[in-house]
Structure formats: C-alpha cells, structure tokens
Symmetry: C2
Subunit: 414 residues, 2 copies
C-alpha cells in the first residue's frame, strides 16, 4: 500500500500528456483522431499535477487529468507521499458520484499505474475561495453543500451501511500518510513552536498566548483523538473552500484524496471554518460598512442554512433506523455531538490557516500588514471561542453567535 | 477474508488429532516418537473444538489445540462463522505474548489452513468463573489483570503506536462477524423482544420494564455506537471471567478471537461487569452473612484495585507523551472517559447475561428459581444504575458505590 512506485509510472508533462490522452480508449468519445489536442498544467496545490486538456477547435470538449506526485510539491522530494492516495481519491469520487452525482465531477477512468484520474473539467466554475475573497455570493451553495454532507456522511456511516460493508470500507480507506499530514498540520504544529509554522510577525503576541493556553491544548488533544479514532463516516477529509468549485447555479466538491473514516464534524467544520475565515477577512477586505454587513450576513446565513439542510437531508437516515434501538433522544444527542464536533474541528481548521504551514488567500493574501493582522487576530479569537465553547452549543445559531461575537485583539492595547 | 474454507481444512477428532500432532515439527520437543499420545475434546464454548493432548506416561508434556469451526457450535451450521477469527486470535495472542507473556498462554504455532492454534495447556489453572461461583478468592488477580489491561490497551493505542502502524493494525484486526455477534447479543437483543433472549419467566416483569425504558435505550445506543466506531486500542473483545484462567499464583487470559480495535472500556468493563455478576450471585449463593460480606468485599476490593493498577501501569504511557500536545488536563479527562465507558460497557455485559442468549453459570446455574430471580433482579438493577449513572463517575469507588447500593426488586411487591 505504501511501497515503491509502479514501474509504469512517469509524471506527465504538457508534452507527454497529449499522447497519453490519445492512448486511452475511454476518451475516444471526447477526443477524435483529427483533433489538435492542447494541454496546460494548472496544479496550484501541493501534491499533484493537474492538466487541463481540450480540443483546439472545440474547447468544450475538455477534461482534467490529475496525477499524484510521490512527494509534497510545496516542499519537494524531501517529503515523500504515497501515490496510494490517488486510489483513495478515485474510490471516494466513485462513492460521491453515486451518492451526489450533481455535486461530483464525472470520472472517466482511474489509471492505477500512473496514479491518475481523468475527470470532468469544471471549466464554468471557480474555486469558491477565490469568489469569497472577491465578496461574491453563491445563493445555492448552502443547499448544495448541506445535501452533499448529509448524503456522503450519512450513507457511509453505520446508520446506513451493513456491519460488514462498513468495516471493510474502513479498511479500504485506511489512509495513514494523508491523515498524518492533518494530524500534524491541524492538531499539533499550530499550538507549539514549530519550524513549519508561518504566521507573520505582527501577530506573534497572540500566537504565543494561544500556544501557552493549556486549556486550549487539552481541547485540541481531545479533537485530535477523535480525528484519529472515531471511524464514523467516510470523510472528504479536506473540505475547505479550495476544494469546492462553484458558480451561481452549481456546486462541485473535488479532491477527496484525504478521504478516510473519521468524525462527520471534521468535514462540516472544514466548510464552516473556512466560511468564518472569509467572515474574518472581510473585516478589512470590505471597507464599506453596508457592503461588509451584507456579505457577512450572507456568510452567516449560509452557515445556518447549510446546517439546517444537513439536518433535514439526514432525517431519512433516522427515519429508516429502528426507534427501539435508536430512540429520538439518542438521535438528538447524536446530531448535537456532530454539531459540537463541527465547532471544534472548524476552529482547528481556522487556527492552522493563521499559524501553520499552509495559509489561505482570504487572510494571507491581504497585502496591508495591519489589515492582515486584524483579520488574523479576529480569526484566532473566533477559533479559540469556538473550541472552548463548543460543549455548550446545541443549535447552529449558537455556533454563529459565538464566532460573530468576537472582535480582533490587534492592534494590541496597553 | 470471509470466503470459503481452506481445502486442507478438516475438523479434527480425538482419533485424528494424534496423527496431526505427530505431523507437526514444532511439537517434536514436546512429544517423542515413542510416546503414546492421548487426547480429549473439552470445548465447552460455542465456536471451537478444543483438544487437550498429552503423553500417556508423562502428562506434564501436554498442549492444547484450539480449532475454529465454521459455524456457531451452540446453534449448529445454520449460523456460519468465518474461520478468519482463528487468524485474529493467533495474532492477538502473539501481541499479548509480547506485551504480557506472564499472562498469555505460550503459542507453539498457528496453522492457517486448519484454523488451528497449538498452545500451552493451562492444566494447573481453573476457569475463573468456576472459582468465583464457589466463592474462591484469587489474591493476585487484581494486580495481574490490571497490568494486562494497561499493557494490552495502552501499547496498542495511538498514545504508543506510530500513526502508520496503528492504522494498519486497525485494518488487520477488522473482525466484522465476531463484532456483529457482540453488537447483536450485547447491544440490541436484550433491550427488546427477541427470539434469542433466554431469561427465565419469573424475572419477566423486570425485563419488560427495562425493555420499555427509552432513556436506557438511548444510553445503550450511545455505547453501541462507541463500540462500532471508536478504534482506540486492540481489545481482547470477550474478556469475561470465562476467558480467564487462574490459580492462587497466576492469571492467564485466553480466547481473544473477538479481538478488534475498539474502546478500552469494553475490555475493562467486561472484567468488572462479570465480577459484579458474581457479587449479585452471592446474594443467594452464600447464605452465611459473614461469609457473603467477606467474599463480596473481596470482589469490590478487586474492582477498585484492578482499576488502580490499570491507572498506575498506564502512567508510563502518559509519561512518554509530549505534555504540550497532551497536557495533564487532557490525560485526566481521557482516563475519566475510560472509567465512564467501563461502567457503561460493564453494565451492558451484565444485562446480556441475564436477558440474552448466552447466560453465565453464576446466575443461570442457581437452581432455586426464587434465588435465581433475586440474583438476576439485583444484576439488572446494578446494570441500569451504572449505565444511567456513568456520566457522573469520576472515581472507581463511585462505580462500586453505584453497583453495591442496589437491591433486588424481586420478589415484586404491591
């Protein structure tokens, strides 16, 4: 599973990718022999090559090829990474495609020797994070992602799968190396001095205070333990707004290479945590108070609505269980735990983006350093309040109230 | 993993077992060509053949062969059961033998085609349950089992194993069919009308009241979910007093075929729940009040002591973690959760033994039906109090107090 690379493996280039495409029978209905095929490498992630490929005289005939590199691209070959993640991603996409085809890119094939998946080119869609940075609203996003979460998390849990299938799926999606990245980058490094942390110096006093907060460490340890031990559902595993492609009509979830069996709240929290990072960023990104309030209202409405849709679309799962085995009091406690986990994991996702190795454009893309510090300070305050306050949360509005009740500490007074 | 039976597989008989023993090179240092080898089948469990084999003129040269049957022996071949459990058991014994050799039978070999393990014959030891029924005390048991639990549970958790080994071990010990037995017999059937339940009619009013207790169902559902999702440690999985062989000097844990990655409290609760069943049984089994009080004092002292030893022997695990990642407040919360899980799982183990398919001699072996009803009634009251009261337990003495504060409801008044 983590062994050497296949002998047939070779990273594609914009030169070799065209021949590769022509060699695949699965693509004969998309590209014809007479086509001039063009390709460009667009991977801006850390782990993979991503090629967009199209027919020169008909750019609507286009696909994406995603090929795993055997190391972390951002760091180089000093950080090897198993190509098995390409299999995990292809198998997760297959499951998502079955459960929520309207929100999953169509997969043409997976090449297990090249660690490569050929899939729909979402040419008419934008990485959601880029839209949010610009203050664009997506009116259907909450409904779409709420449905995506309910279907993918509910249908892969013990509540739906039979006992044997669930356990074999847990084994199939054992994903140690990618989970380890999360364990380190999200649950360990931000809360201590670590060479991979990359916060900007102006925010250091608040980072040091957070790193000295033992009560916070205990809460984060609890969440890390849950991440490492609770095989509740097949997670996407990296569901931030950079893994979501949107436009005004549609929403697609991409890149489930971190998929594994973990706690539902980790995926839901990833979405909400990143919406809250956007909320914090517009403290400074949108200078007009009316515009700012309107966009933030969109973000908080989206959080409330996506949770409501999640709960509503989860209801058929509960309707199908035996109420003697799982009475309503249990069902309510279950959903409350998922909500509290959501708050905790979302908060950890926020802190890692401010302090840790991999930042987000929402915050780190702010050019003015005072503005950036204000947004970062607000993000950290929201996150700490959520982690510590999560045990009392019983309704999504309370999660939103905790976050939106925070103010930036920067600039420091006194 | 769950496929057909190996073509070389044949259930041994007392006739064929001797030739099998002679054919195994691993046993050449135990049995010699000149020996007359004798064998008897002693399996009183439900799932396996167990042969004791010895040299006629030197019975100290003896082994046990345990061979898995492809069905549940108690029910017959209408309930097929995968022989893969023999592999699971052999691999768990190998791990236990490494961690606590003094409490694990020596394994000579595992035959993967016969689903058979050859191991030490614990000829000088008694199944602990039989001793407890007779009121025998085992002065070293608490220390031994506390150490066994700390070593086997601590050393197989994420607290000790590296991230990759732990996850691959979770996959290796995926054990769906045996877990399903637990899920059904311990967490589902006792709490509802079910054809496999086997309580005696006199206790029915209390059983029906328990089965109508929706708050209890919610708690049991919570514990079942934890059993099914929390991959905390490699559990023995069936650690009742029938899986423990003792004498006045030694303690051995046998039969880990239910092994899988689950919550620590399930194993600790199995031990404590069965000690509490013994406690309940001596309400009627020991008529003399002084004798009864003394034996019960032994049982409750044992519960307190085994937990204290568990905590003490677990301490090296905590001493080795980084206190920034896992501060003392987290460590204490972790152990408190294990204690609360212990109370909940122990209670479920008690209820299934009174109501469900497989009883225990402690209770079902009581001949007088009034006496049996009193002991069963007391057991159920203790269990319900523990399940419902577990969230408030912070010390082992509180667990004991909850249990020993209960009285039997039978005979019914009013």
């Amino acid at each position: 599973m983590f062994g050497s690379v296949s002998p047939r493996y070779a990273p594609l280039t914009t030169d070799t990718v065209v021949d590769y495409v022509r060699s695949r029978p699965e693509l004969r209905t998309i590209f014809y022999d007479r086509d001039v095929i063009e390709a460009v490498e667009v991977g801006d992630g850390n782990l993979n090559l991503v090629f967009k490929v199209w027919a020169q005289d008909d750019p609507q005939r286009t696909i994406v090829l995603k090929q795993a590199l055997p190391y972390v691209r951002l760091v180089g070959d000093s950080w090897p990474l198993p190509t098995d993640r390409a299999r995990i991603e292809a198998q997760a996409l297959e499951i998502h495609g079955r459960l929520v085809p309207q929100h999953t890119p169509k997969v043409y094939f997976f090449d297990p020797e090249m660690y490569l998946t050929a899939m729909q080119n979402l040419n008419d869609h934008l990485i959601m994070r880029k839209g949010l940075v610009q203050g664009v609203t997506y009116p259907h996003f909450a409904n779409h992602i709420g449905l995506f979460l309910a279907r993918t998390l509910g249908s892969t849990s013990d509540l739906v799968l039979d006992y044997r299938t669930k356990k074999l799926e847990v084994a199939r999606f054992i994903n140690p190396e990618l989970c380890k990245i999360t364990e380190d980058l999200i649950f360990v490094e931000p809360y201590r001095q670590h060479e991979r942390n990359r916060y900007h110096p102006e925010i250091e006093p608040q980072v040091l205070a957070l790193q000295a907060d033992v009560a916070l460490h205990a809460e984060v340890a609890d969440l890390k333990e849950k991440f490492m031990t609770q095989a509740q559902s097949l997670l996407h595993g990296d569901l931030h707004t950079g893994s979501i492609m949107v436009n005004q009509r549609e929403t697609y979830v991409i890149d489930p290479e971190f998929a594994f069996y973990g706690p539902m709240g980790f995926d839901i929290g990833a979405v909400i945590g990143n919406l809250l990072l956007s909320y914090a960023s517009h403290e400074v990104r949108t200078k007009d108070p009316t515009q700012r309030a309107a966009f933030r209202r969109y973000l908080t409405d989206t959080i409330v609505q996506l949770w409501r849709v999640f709960v509503r679309e989860f209801q058929p799962v509960w309707d199908a269980v035996d109420p003697i085995d799982m009475p309503p009091a249990y069902q309510q406690a279950y959903m409350r735990r998922v909500l509290q986990d959501t708050a905790g994991f979302g908060a950890c996702k926020m802190m890692r983006r401010i302090i840790g190795l991999a930042g987000v454009e929402d915050i780190r893309g702010i050019e003015d350093v005072t503005d950036k510090s204000i947004a970062a300070s607000l993000s950290l305050n929201m996150a700490v309040a959520l982690v510590k306050g999560r045990h009392q949360i019983t309704r999504i509005e309370e999660l939103v109230d905790i976050a939106t009740g925070c103010r930036p500490t920067y600039p420091w007074t006194g």
